[in-house]
């Protein structure tokens, strides 16, 4: 996977296959992703401030798995690092990683929006 590839095409093809090529359902999934992700980021920020490791880990875990579904592997890897920080209860550097993840999500969001409007 190259650094510039925000969405892995093979993964996206795989997702399309697994939902029977149903574009409407893909749009629904993308919408759900857009609906849920800001909430996960704000959950992580609150959890970071209150040092709630469990909640931080869980939100990162969800973002990891959701982004992986769309082949957003860079975001998924960042989320995995965040999840690991929460699991090991070592949140040093988590704030910077969070900012990186939010920036990466912006890329992913634009790519997915483009995909959604391409029909």
């Amino acid at each position: 996977m190259s650094k510039t590839e925000v969405i892995d095409e093979n993964a996206m093809v795989g997702l399309m296959q697994s939902i029977g090529g149903d574009r409407d359902f893909l749009d629904e999934l993308i919408t759900t992703f857009f609906d849920d992700t800001p909430g996960l980021f704000s959950l992580m920020r609150t959890a970071l401030a209150s040092e709630n490791h469990e909640e931080f880990r869980r939100a990162a875990h969800s973002l990891k798995s959701n982004s992986a579904n769309f082949g957003a592997f860079a975001l998924s890897h960042l989320s995995q690092e965040l999840e690991e920080m929460g699991r090991s209860r070592l949140l040093d550097g988590a704030a910077e990683r969070l900012v990186q993840a939010e920036a990466e999500y912006e890329q992913v969001r634009m790519a997915l929006e483009a995909l959604r409007s391409r029909r």
Binding site: G14, S18, E28, D35, S65, A68, N69
Partner: protein, 483 residues
């Protein structure tokens, strides 16, 4: 992707806090023809599992369970499912990312059936769900079979209780009615004794006369417990001569007393001796007194004997059912067989010649006592029925290197070769409809081989049928189990 793998429809509970995951799983399950319900955490899942039940059986067939969830996580949920007897058998498939293998292993150890990696692969999901559904169907079938089996054995138990009760009623009836009759007669005998006493007392007997009465009293008491050695003809002669003697002396109801006097071996000589010591007017009182004394003592003995017999039967029943004893205890097979024989005595008495060849040094073995008795009862009743109630049954017990062998042989017509292999099959019966359950020998077989890890086989030809049963001294011993 639409898979063409043949699948049976199931009702799946999706438990995941992630709405995207729920959507993807729901979609894939619907495509594969399953129905589903969704829960966002463990608590909601348990609520659904407990509310969606019919007759205590959950409606769900499979649970798809995420691990990391708020409120109640996958571990706690799995734990609660496994601790709930109504839910424990439900297949649980863990949903996990590939970097969570350790958690998955922990869940499998806790009783999860399988796992499904994320991102979801519909073909894999389908395979996992179908495998779980097949496994559950098998377990459900097994459960239904076991329940049916328990019910069948219960019904056979009831049938054998019915047969036992009939036998018991018969056995108990004789001693109980004898004791009842005797106690009524005792009332009259005591009245007679009291009358005689007053009459004798009115004659103011001397010390010598009282001594003679005491002697006769001892003589009568001795006679009560002895069986008369007199034959019927001699007795009839004695009764007749006594009656004549009494009539000559104008004793009223002489026929009534003569029989009693004969029963206690009273002869004319003793009677004359008694009379010579008392005035003639006292004769009726003396006769009444001696016969009443005899009656009172022999009736008391009859009542005691009747109760003794009832007590024996009750003890046999207690021994047979192992009432108020632990289900598994140290059993002496000879005693177990004797208790069973006592219970079916009525059937045996009719015309069976019973031979015992018991090893008197049998060790006590670990066994379900009452169940073994049921096994003996079924085999013996079968033999008696086959012999039409007439012939010889021989029971042998032996101790052979940590095993006890029991052989039950009869000289009945034998089991035809073509049905020998079926006699232990459920519902196989040669008896007319309604007279047998067709389960007797099946149950004996189950009790011996299933419950006691023993062996039972039959060897039959016309005129000789032998059931050979071998039971290990301790069926809980690993060596027996690993055979």
């Amino acid at each position: 992707m639409n898979t063409n793998v043949e699948s049976h429809s199931g009702y799946i509970l999706i438990v995941d806090d992630n709405s995207l995951n729920r959507k993807l799983l729901a979609r894939a399950l619907t495509e594969q023809g399953h129905r589903f319900a969704m829960a966002e955490n463990g608590r909601q899942a348990l609520d659904l599992l407990k509310s969606e039940q019919a007759d205590g059986v959950p409606l769900f067939d499979v649970v798809l369970l995420d691990i990391l969830m708020p409120e109640m996580d996958g571990y706690q949920t799995l734990q609660q499912i496994k601790n709930d007897s109504a839910l424990a058998h439900l297949p649980v498939i863990m949903i996990s990312a590939l970097d969570e293998m350790e958690s998955v292993i922990r869940c499998i150890e806790m009783g999860a059936t399988d796992y499904l990696p994320k991102p979801f692969n519909p073909a894999l999901l389908n395979a996992r769900i179908n495998a779980s559904l097949a496994g559950k169907r098998l377990r459900d079938l097994e459960k239904a079979y076991l329940q049916q089996d328990v019910m069948l054995r219960q019904s056979e138990k009831l049938a054998s209780i019915g047969r036992l009760s009939a036998g018991m009623a018969h056995e108990l009836n004789n001693p109980v009615s004898a004791a009842l009759r005797s106690s009524k007669q005792l009332h009259e005998a005591i009245h007679n004794l009291e009358q005689a006493f007053l009459m004798i007392a009115a004659g103011k007997p001397s010390a010598d006369q009282i001594e003679i009465l005491a002697e006769i009293q001892r003589f009568i008491k001795e006679k009560v417990s002895q069986v008369s050695s007199m034959d019927a003809l001699a007795r009839s002669d004695l009764e007749f001569s006594l009656e004549c003697w009494l009539e000559e002396r104008d004793v009223e109801n002489s026929w009534k007393y003569s029989s009693s006097l004969a029963s206690m071996d009273f002869d004319i000589q003793q009677l004359s001796k008694l009379c010579s010591s008392f005035p003639a007017s006292q004769l009726p009182a003396l006769i009444l007194w001696s016969t009443a004394t005899y009656s009172v003592n022999s009736l008391i003995l009859e009542i005691a004997q009747g109760n003794q017999r009832v007590s024996q039967i009750v003890n046999a029943l207690k021994g047979y059912t192992y009432m108020d004893q632990a289900p598994v205890q140290a059993v002496n097979i000879n005693e177990s067989l004797e208790n069973t024989l006592a219970m079916i005595a009525a059937k045996l008495n009719a015309g069976i010649n019973l031979q015992r060849d018991f090893d008197q040094h049998l060790p006590r073995i670990q066994a379900y006592g009452s169940e073994l008795n049921q096994a003996w009862t079924n085999i013996l009743e079968n033999a008696i029925d086959a012999m039409n109630g007439h012939g010889e049954i021989k029971i042998t017990t032996r101790h052979e290197s940590e095993w006890v062998t029991i052989r039950i042989e009869d000289d009945g017509p034998g089991i035809p070769l073509e049905i020998q292999s079926k006699i232990f099959d459920p519902f196989f019966t040669t008896k007319p409809p309604g007279s047998g359950t067709g389960l007797g020998l099946t149950i004996s077989h189950h009790i011996i081989t299933g419950k006691h890890r023993g062996e039972i086989c039959v060897n039959s030809q016309p005129g000789s049928t032998c059931f050979e049963i071998k039971i290990p001294e301790n069926f809980e011993d690993q060596r027996v189990n690993n055979r």
